[in-house]
């Protein structure tokens, strides 16, 4: 029996963008509202996993040509680097700092180095989850 997954593929094409947007949204929302690097990363990887489920690995790989091991390594690197970065400003390892700016139209926005730290966490999560799932599924 030939598996017909037209519906899944069509729905996925739309849904993925919603999930991705949502993932990015909760990543940034994390500073003041529920969300953050870990959940954001998981949501993004859920979107990618959905793509892998709907299409096959090669097709997706053509669209997203990342080596997810490197993504994970890069994330872990950012996490450590923000920690070491603090040393250059003469404050203890892993100190975070923040400031707020007033942008026209948008209003007050807080900018914080925690965001970089959280981005590292998110990248590490995405990389690891997808690496694990890919290596298990490729293993036949």
């Amino acid at each position: 029996m030939k598996i017909n997954d037209v519906i899944l593929q069509t729905v996925t094409k739309i849904i993925v963008f919603i999930i991705l947007t949502f993932g990015v949204y909760i990543f940034f929302a994390g500073h003041h509202n529920p969300g953050g690097g870990f959940v954001g990363g998981l949501a993004i990887s859920a979107a990618v996993v959905l793509l892998y489920l709907a299409f096959d690995i090669e097709t997706v790989h053509k669209g997203i040509p990342f080596d997810f091991k490197k993504v994970a390594a890069f994330g872990a690197f950012i996490v450590v680097a923000t920690g070491i970065g603090a040393l250059f400003f003469g404050v203890p390892f892993l100190s975070q700092t923040f400031f707020t700016v007033d942008l026209p139209l948008i209003g007050e926005i807080g900018i914080s180095t925690v965001t970089i730290f959280e981005a590292g966490v998110a990248l590490a999560v995405v990389g690891v989850v997808i690496t694990i799932i890919l290596s298990i599924s490729k293993d036949v």
Partner: protein, 802 residues
């Protein structure tokens, strides 16, 4: 100073990148060379001010919540070591550029080497004992990697493992000692300890700490009977042997002994053990070196012997502390001075000799003295350098070894005259043993020169015709040999600028009272020391000529009864028992593993709950339970019980999903949106993962019912786990064990600019935990990837054993 430590480490990170970018167009060693050279020049700028008695310290906060502040300190002692590390490092890298061809995996080599350099600098500059320990182990690890550089050779792997096992065992002993020190004094800083510790001399932990720290120093500095790893470490490429295993790393133990002498020196045990172990090592190393036929093994034993000499001198130098600065005992400061003078000289001549032997090995493809001979006509320049190096080691003029050897005899004479060990026999033993060991030293120095360079050249014996090496390879040993001769003529330059600050920092109470650095004179008339040297030459020549006749002495020490055999025996037995133990509990059955985990959970968590009396709860403050909470819990109960009776995996997983999503729903009701969000996404991803794994699983079937007794135990375990969980959950609400975290809640916005307190805690207050979690996650991912990719069944080429 921070830059000094981080520059090599940073360069180590950059090296592979540059290697890749260069695409083998140029030797990546040129880049690596730049690092120690700059550092050497930078450190040299400190020489004048340190010679004037300045000391530099610098500290920055590393993890303030655990009171780990990286305190760095630069005084005469660390400056001498820093200069040796960077100076010899520069020459060794220069040498290695010509030694290693571009075909080798150069990027690895220089990464390890720079890593080592950074670790070594960190070791000598840190004032904080835990940071010192960290760098100490880092040197062991980089040494392991460098010894196993040609990892396809069985011998390299054996040597690397041996060195790692022995030095790390010593390292852990040392760590225990450090922790004891901290327990006694309440400080991690070496300098503060120096001031505090004399008060603790009667503390019950004082002697154990002393012995454990000595154990660490002795394993690293190859003192008898831990010397056995050094000859096997000679499997490393020659630049590594010259750098790590003669000039720097093996001297880390010496550094440690010197650094801790003001702390432990008041105890006579310190003086006894350091000087006697040093003396035994001196004799045994020299004795064993003579029988070696492999030139590098010969040098390894000679290094052992020379390190024994330095250690012995340090032990005698500590007598000043042991006798509480009695005016008579001050004469022993001279021994301490000689120790460092000889340490410096040893680095120069041993580095030279290693490089020379590397050249011979590289050119002729052999370093066996039974094959070599008559090389003088091939390599006159190398020959000259070799003569300078080995005559210096033998203690002949006009080379620096002569000066330190003479002063060494003077120190030994003092031991005898002063009757330091309050027993005529032992005190007399020192000069006698020193003299005998020096004769052996003379003999093996002659072996190096005469067996390799003189005699007849026989091309038949070699596997391949000699190679023509680039001339640049001679530069590094030539520079070192210039030092050897130069120091002989101007020894007092070294002593004023480098050694004097060490003496003043080691004997701080005496610094103003007397001149601690003796003037070095090459000639002081027909003293006892000169006659001893003349005796050495006469007896040495005699022994060298008659070597054939007395060689049989070595048959008294067959390999079967050596320390190597003991090491192999312990290793073999250890592996065997570990294997049988692992086989016993690794049954391969998931059910068993689960029961281990759960039993451990019950014991650890339940036990600590009872032990700390953390269990306490009250229902008085709890809100009333609402209807939908009842409903969700009921759904979860039903789902949980249904899992047990599920007939297919899909059902089981879906029911598991029901549990997960219901928990998320509970989180929503209890207004924990962060948790709910995380739980939802985690649940979705895990379900996808489960579905993926499906096709690899065998047909689902109910297992045969186990025996009644097993079933009963399992039931007991499961009930116990559930109970413990409930008890923990109930006691979480009571805060009597820990401080409340309300501080985070109240100050989150002011301190971090974040309204979301959960994330403020994760990303800022407890960022250290989060960072480690992210790294653990990454490692776990890599682990899964490698386990799956590299599993058995690949065609393995048998390159492993050569």
């Amino acid at each position: 100073m921070i830059t000094a430590i981080f520059a090599p480490l940073l360069a180590a990170i950059l090296t592979p990148l540059i290697h890749k970018l260069s695409r083998n167009r140029f030797h990546v060693g040129w880049f690596a060379l730049f690092v120690p050279l700059t550092l050497f020049i930078a450190l040299s700028r400190y020489i004048p001010s340190v010679a004037d008695g300045m000391q530099y310290s610098h500290s920055f906060q590393w993890i303030p919540s655990y009171n780990i502040n990286a305190a760095l300190h630069l005084d005469g002692l660390s400056l001498l070591f820093g200069l040796l590390i960077t100076g010899i490092g520069t020459l060794v890298i220069l040498y290695s550029i010509f030694y290693l061809s571009k075909r080798e995996s150069l990027a690895h080599f220089y990464v390890y080497l720079l890593l080592f350099m950074g670790a070594m600098l960190g070791l000598v500059f840190s004032d904080h004992i835990l940071i010192l320990y960290f760098f100490w182990e880092l040197t062991s690890i980089s040494s392991f990697l460098l010894i196993a550089f040609w990892y396809y050779r069985t011998k390299s792997r054996y040597g690397a493992q041996k060195s790692l096992l022995i030095t790390v065992t010593g390292g852990i002993a040392m760590l225990t000692g450090f922790i004891m020190l901290y327990h006694m004094t309440g400080t991690f800083s070496i300098r503060e300890m120096t001031a505090l510790l004399p008060d603790y001399i009667n503390h019950s932990l004082f002697i154990p700490a002393l012995l454990l720290i000595l154990l660490g120093a002795f394993t690293k500095s190859v003192q008898f009977p831990f010397h056995i790893w050094l000859p096997d470490a000679m499997e490393a490429p020659t630049p590594v042997s010259a750098y790590l295993h003669s000039a720097t790393m093996v001297k880390a133990g010496i550094y440690l002994i010197a650094r801790f002498t003001p702390i432990f020196g008041h105890e006579k045990l310190w003086m006894w053990s350091v000087s006697i172990v040093g003396l035994i090592t001196l004799l045994w190393g020299a004795f064993c070196a003579v029988r070696q036929t492999d030139l590098k093994a010969l040098l390894a034993y000679s290094t052992i012997s020379q390190l024994g000499l330095i250690t012995c001198l340090l032990g005698i130098g500590s007598a000043v502390y042991a006798f509480d600065f009695e005016p008579d005992a001050l004469i022993f400061t001279q021994a301490m001075f000689v120790a460092f003078f000889h340490l410096f000289n040893h680095s120069t001549f041993k580095g030279t000799l290693f490089m020379v032997i590397g050249i011979i090995d590289h050119t002729f493809g052999s370093r066996d003295i039974r094959k070599l001979g008559g090389l003088i006509s091939f390599m006159p320049a190398t020959f000259t350098i070799a003569v300078i190096g080995s005559f210096s080691m033998a203690g002949l003029p006009p080379f620096n070894g002569f000066l330190s050897k003479e002063m060494f005899f003077t120190a030994m004479k003092h031991v005898y005259e002063w009757n330091m060990f309050s027993s005529e026999a032992i005190s007399a033993l020192f000069p006698v043993v020193a003299w005998i060991a020096s004769i052996f030293t003379f003999v093996y120095c002659m072996i190096i020169i005469f067996q390799t360079f003189f005699g007849k050249y026989d091309p038949e014996k070699y596997d391949r015709p000699p190679l023509k090496l680039p001339f640049g390879i001679v530069i590094a040993p030539a520079v070192l040999s210039l030092f050897i001769v130069g120091i002989f003529f101007m020894p007092n330059v070294i002593s004023t600028y480098l050694l004097n600050p060490i003496m003043t920092s080691l004997y701080e109470p005496l610094a103003d009272a007397m001149d601690l650095t003796p003037r070095i004179h090459a000639w002081q008339g027909w003293t006892l020391e000169v006659w001893m040297t003349i005796g050495i030459v006469i007896f040495g020549i005699f022994l060298y000529k008659s070597f054939h006749y007395w060689k049989k002495v070595y048959n008294l020490f067959p390999p079967k009864r050596s320390f190597d055999a003991l090491y192999n025996f312990i290793l073999e037995r250890g592996e065997k028992s570990a294997r049988s133990l692992t086989k016993w509990y690794m049954t391969g059955s998931l059910r068993n593993y689960f029961s281990y985990i759960f039993v451990f959970f019950i014991i650890a968590v339940g036990g600590s709950l009872i032990y700390t009396q953390a269990f306490s709860f009250t229902l008085a403050n709890d809100a009333a339970i609402r209807v939908y909470e009842w409903v969700i819990v009921a759904v979860m109960l039903v789902a949980g019980i249904m899992i047990l009776f599920a007939k297919s995996r899909i059902t089981a997983i879906l029911l598991n999903g029901v549990l997960g999503y219901s928990i998320a729903a509970l989180f929503v009701i209890f207004r924990a949106p962060d948790l709910a969000l995380t739980q939802l996404v985690v649940e979705s991803v895990t379900t996808a993962l489960f579905l993926l794994c499906f096709r690899f699983l065998p047909e689902f079937k109910l297992e045969e019912p186990a025996k009644k007794s097993v079933q009963l135990t399992n039931a007991l375990i499961s009930v116990a786990v559930g109970t413990v969980f409930i008890l923990v959950a109930l006691s979480v609400n009571s805060t009597h064990m820990f401080e409340s975290i309300v501080y985070f809640f109240e100050n989150a916005y002011e301190l971090t600019g974040s309204h979301n307190i959960v994330n403020a805690i994760l990303g800022d207050f407890r960022a250290f935990d989060t960072m480690l979690e992210a790294i653990v996650l990454f490692l776990a991912g890599l682990g899964v990837f490698t386990l799956i990719k590299l599993k058995k069944g690949r065609e393995e080429k048998n390159v492993e054993d050569q």
